[in-house]
């Protein structure tokens, strides 16, 4: 388990350092998914601080949206944790697309791939959802 965490950390470091030369857009990945009492904390990290402005970061998993969050700055990088009820979490289908948007970027379709192409600056694809992401 310890080796896995080390490997994960190395991956994150490489991922984030690569971003420095990739361009302006922040690189964002899922960091941890943990549970405390009846709340799941779904944490993302970013190569630069999450923007603190008017719009909200919204975590989309499949067709569900999660808006309750808390963001922090950590030594020049960003951390944002979304709070999801256990009931909601258990209802999410494995294999769903996970993506983050800055702002309420929806239109008539709610199709994530189409939305991605229309909102490039404020859309981050974060892979597929699995309940096994939860670290007990």
């Amino acid at each position: 388990m310890k080796n896995l965490i080390v490997l994960f950390s190395i991956f994150i470091s490489i991922f984030l350092s690569g971003n420095a030369i990739a361009g302006n857009k922040a690189k964002i990945v899922v960091s941890t998914v943990t549970q405390k009492d009846s709340t799941i904390s779904f944490t993302l990290i970013s190569s630069k601080p999450f923007y603190m402005g008017g719009s909200r970061y919204i975590l989309h998993i499949g067709d569900k949206e999660f808006k309750l969050s808390k963001q922090k700055v950590n030594k020049g990088t960003g951390v944002i944790t979304f709070f999801i009820s256990v009931n909601d979490f258990n209802g999410l289908p494995d294999g769903s697309n996970i993506y983050l948007t800055y702002g309420h970027l929806t239109d008539d379709t709610q199709n994530s791939e189409e939305l991605s192409s229309k909102t490039s600056g404020k859309y981050w694809s974060l892979g597929k959802f699995s309940k096994t992401m939860l670290t007990k």
Binding site: G54, S55, Q71, H104, D108
Partner: protein, 756 residues
């Protein structure tokens, strides 16, 4: 030319130049953004970083703010403005300002970022015009607002109300740190609020919260600057202005336009106007000096750069041809338009109306803008406009709001769109990103319904018929509608143009080019994928006085004729007529002579619902002393003797459109026994005539009696007139009768036919 002649010519030129420019200056709307006559002082108050706990928020928050005020407070009380900044970094490391924090309270070497100081330039302008301007800090809410479902909006409302409570105390009994300096100096019933970003939705929540509490404070104007609009609350009965920056990188879907759109037709009693201003080169952050890179020690950011391309031709800072506002221009533009709004609705300076109401599209000089850089939408209060076609229902492409027929000929894809699935209206432009169509609805909330008009021939038209009862347009000042170029379906080489025609019942046509009145039919700039160009609606206003050669009392058709640009597509909404500034202020009164010189005047003036009305009577009867005038709505006046008088009623109406209207009605009144009976004779009416069962008698002074006499001189009926009706017994047969009415001043004779 000799030196003397040259000098003379030069002096003449200078004189001509000065005269010409003086004339121009008088002809122009005054500039609201220039400094006023008061010298200004500034102070801060800070009751602690955790001094207040909003009921609807998990954390305690700071109570801190600044105040700008006229140094000489002796002319108070002054109107009040309250500013609320938006969401931004909260703290910075004083040992290394490049380190910022999003927590609260600040700890260790970290100090608060003073976002509330970012609008000092506007506060200073307004204080110089005699306002007390309070700007409050909101860092604690910013640090925790995404942990609550409304994004901290109710907490912002409660914090604002807490500050107003505090200032109410400073205004009544005083308190630290100001002691009694502000006692009696604030007009807490005349307050304007401005909120930026999340503060924008915050001030809307606050206005609604203040109403919920019974309006302890008079919120008279609300300005939302680049606001979010998470909850889609709708504000009515308070003038509202939204400002949308085209290059906003943060709230890039310009969702504040919904504050305007949603308020238009959802309260049929709303007398107050809505405005939405589009700044073509403004971003989100440069309105606040603390958020502007390089003008504060920490935390500044260019929101456009953070999310979007540096090279966009409209908004990209690294594109040498970009059309962004520089930091100075952005603040100057906001300063001018915010000042116009507050000085009009808080200061009642109606001279600024043309800037806001699209009858002067030249921006004030202090804004540093030209007429291609700023556009305004204007929605008058309901008694100030007459809706021809609201374009708010699917059927509006065949039948308009006043039940007139709507026809289109030759148009491409005509129909209602954009309101979103909730209104069963399809997307106007499905290929665009959400940022590119700010007005549209989505799967969660309805948006702005729009009528698409695309043409490819000069014979194409769109027409609204005006039903007979509504064809008299003489009480209206302008025709207005909102529009935007539908850029995916239009070429970008030049502004679009078309004609508006008014057609009267005789078929006479008056036509005007739209391009004479607006620059709003431009092809929207920018290429940022998913964000630019954007479809944003702006108002076009055309004075009806420009439509000559037709009978304005019988206008049957309002016709858009696409005979200028060879092809193009626009989206329109809100086709309406704007009332003349004072609308229907029909001042009149009736009177009855109660006794020899005692007259009761009854006010019958018809003004617009919701206006504040003041009455003033003057009887031209100087011998009656103080009783010669009155401010009562109805009045009985005892004239001092026989003679001819000219009683007048002056009505002053403070219209909710900000315009003060004054109208007068006078009559000639002769008081002598003979004259009185003559006047009574003229004023007494008997109806119906022919009569069947009763006679209705009006205009008499009581006590009075009625005698009915037949053609043989026989009295067939005698009655005392108690109400207005005298019933005829069945014994009175068909025939002509003489009616004698006896009043305190003598007898009046009338003729009446009874028909059984």
């Amino acid at each position: 030319m000799s030196i003397k002649n040259a000098l003379s010519s030069f002096i003449l030129c200078v004189i001509v130049f000065i005269c010409f420019n003086t004339f121009q200056a008088f002809a122009q709307t005054p500039d609201p953004g220039l400094p006023g006559p008061y010298t200004v002082a500034r102070a801060e108050y800070n009751l602690g970083a955790l001094a207040y706990k909003p009921a609807d928020f998990p954390d305690s928050v700071e109570v801190r703010g600044s105040v700008h005020y006229p140094t000489d407070l002796s002319a108070g009380p002054f109107p009040v403005l309250v500013f609320l900044h938006g969401r931004h970094e909260t703290c910075y490391d004083t040992t290394d300002p490049s380190n910022i924090s999003q927590d609260w309270p600040c700890s260790g070497t970290y100090a608060p970022i003073t976002s509330f100081n970012g609008y000092d330039y506007l506060a200073k302008t307004m204080a110089s015009h005699g306002y007390i301007v309070i700007s409050i800090s909101c860092n604690a809410i910013n640090a925790g607002d995404d942990t609550v479902s409304d994004g901290g909006m109710q907490a912002r409302a409660e914090l604002m109300q807490h500050h107003l409570d505090l200032w109410n105390k400073y205004n009544t009994v005083g308190g630290a740190p100001f002691d009694t300096m502000f006692v009696g100096k604030l007009d807490m019933n005349n307050i304007g609020t401005m909120g930026h970003s999340r503060g924008g939705e915050g001030v809307v929540f606050h206005a609604l919260y203040n109403k919920l509490l019974g309006s302890p404070y008079g919120i008279k104007a609300v300005l939302t600057l680049a606001p979010v609009n998470f909850s889609r609350k709708v504000l009515h009965q308070i003038p509202l202005m939204n400002i949308a920056p085209y290059c906003d990188g943060d709230v890039s879907d310009l969702e504040g336009v919904h504050f305007y759109d949603d308020a238009r037709y959802t309260d049929s009693t709303d007398e107050t106007p809505k405005y939405s201003v589009l700044f073509m080169g403004a971003n989100h952050n440069f309105f606040n000096t603390v958020w502007t890179p390089g003008s504060y020690i920490a935390g500044g950011a260019d929101d456009w750069e953070y999310f979007f391309s540096d090279t966009d031709p409209q908004c990209g800072p690294d594109n040498p041809a970009n059309k962004r506002f520089d930091t100075t221009t952005e603040k100057a533009a906001f300063n001018a338009y915010a000042a116009a709004f507050f000085r009009m609705y808080i200061g009642h300076e109606t001279a600024f109306a043309p800037i806001l109401q699209v009858n002067n599209i030249t921006p004030p000089a202090s804004s540093k803008l030209d007429s291609s850089q700023v556009f305004v939408s204007y929605h008058p209060g309901h008694t100030d406009r007459f809706d021809i076609n609201r374009i708010d229902k699917l059927a509006c492409d065949t039948i308009n709001t006043i039940d007139g027929k709507v026809t289109e000929t030759g148009l491409l894809l005509p129909g209602i769109c954009g309101g979103g699935p909730l209104l069963y209206m399809y997307d106007c432009e499905a290929g665009l990103g959400p940022d590119q169509k700010p007005h549209d609805g989505d799967i969660y909330a309805a948006g702005l319904a729009q009528m698409r008009l695309g043409w490819s021939s000069g014979a194409d038209y769109y027409q609204n018929e005006v039903p007979l009862p509504d064809q008299d347009l003489t009480s209206f000042e302008s025709l207005m509608f909102r529009t935007s170029v539908d850029f995916p379906k239009s070429t970008s080489d030049s502004n679009l143009d078309f004609s508006i025609q008014l057609i009267d019942s005789a078929g006479n046509i008056s036509s005007r080019n739209v391009s004479n009145y607006t620059n709003a039919l431009f092809h929207q700039p920018g290429i940022e994928p998913g964000d630019l160009p954007k479809i944003v609606f702006n108002t076009i206003r055309m004075p009806l006085s420009d439509f000559s050669g037709i009978d304005m009392t019988k206008v049957r058709k309002i016709k858009f004729v696409f005979d200028k640009s060879t092809k193009g597509t626009i989206l329109i909404s809100d086709l309406a007529l704007l009332s003349k500034p004072c609308g229907k202020l029909n001042v009149a009164f009736d009177f009855a002579i109660d006794s020899e010189y005692k007259v009761t005047f009854t006010n019958t003036s018809a003004t617009n619902v919701g206006d504040t009305i003041a009455w003033h009577w003057n009887f031209e009867d100087t011998l009656s002393g103080a009783n010669d005038s009155s401010a009562l709505q109805n009045i009985t006046h005892s004239f001092s003797g026989p003679g001819t008088y000219y009683p007048c009623l002056y009505v002053r109406s403070n219209r909710k459109n900000g315009v003060e209207c004054l109208d007068t009605f006078c009559i000639k009144l002769t008081l002598s026994p003979d004259a009185i009976i003559e006047q009574i004779k003229d004023r007494i009416t008997i109806a119906p005539n022919p009569a069947k069962d009763y006679l209705r008698i009006t205009g008499i002074s009581k006590p009075a009696t009625l005698t009915l006499i037949n053609l043989y001189g026989q009295i067939v009926l005698s009655a005392t007139i108690t109400g207005s009706d005298v019933y005829l017994p069945q014994t009175i047969t068909t025939g002509i009768y003489c009616v004698a009415i006896t009043t305190p001043y003598g007898k009046v004779y009338k003729k009446v036919l009874v028909s059984r």
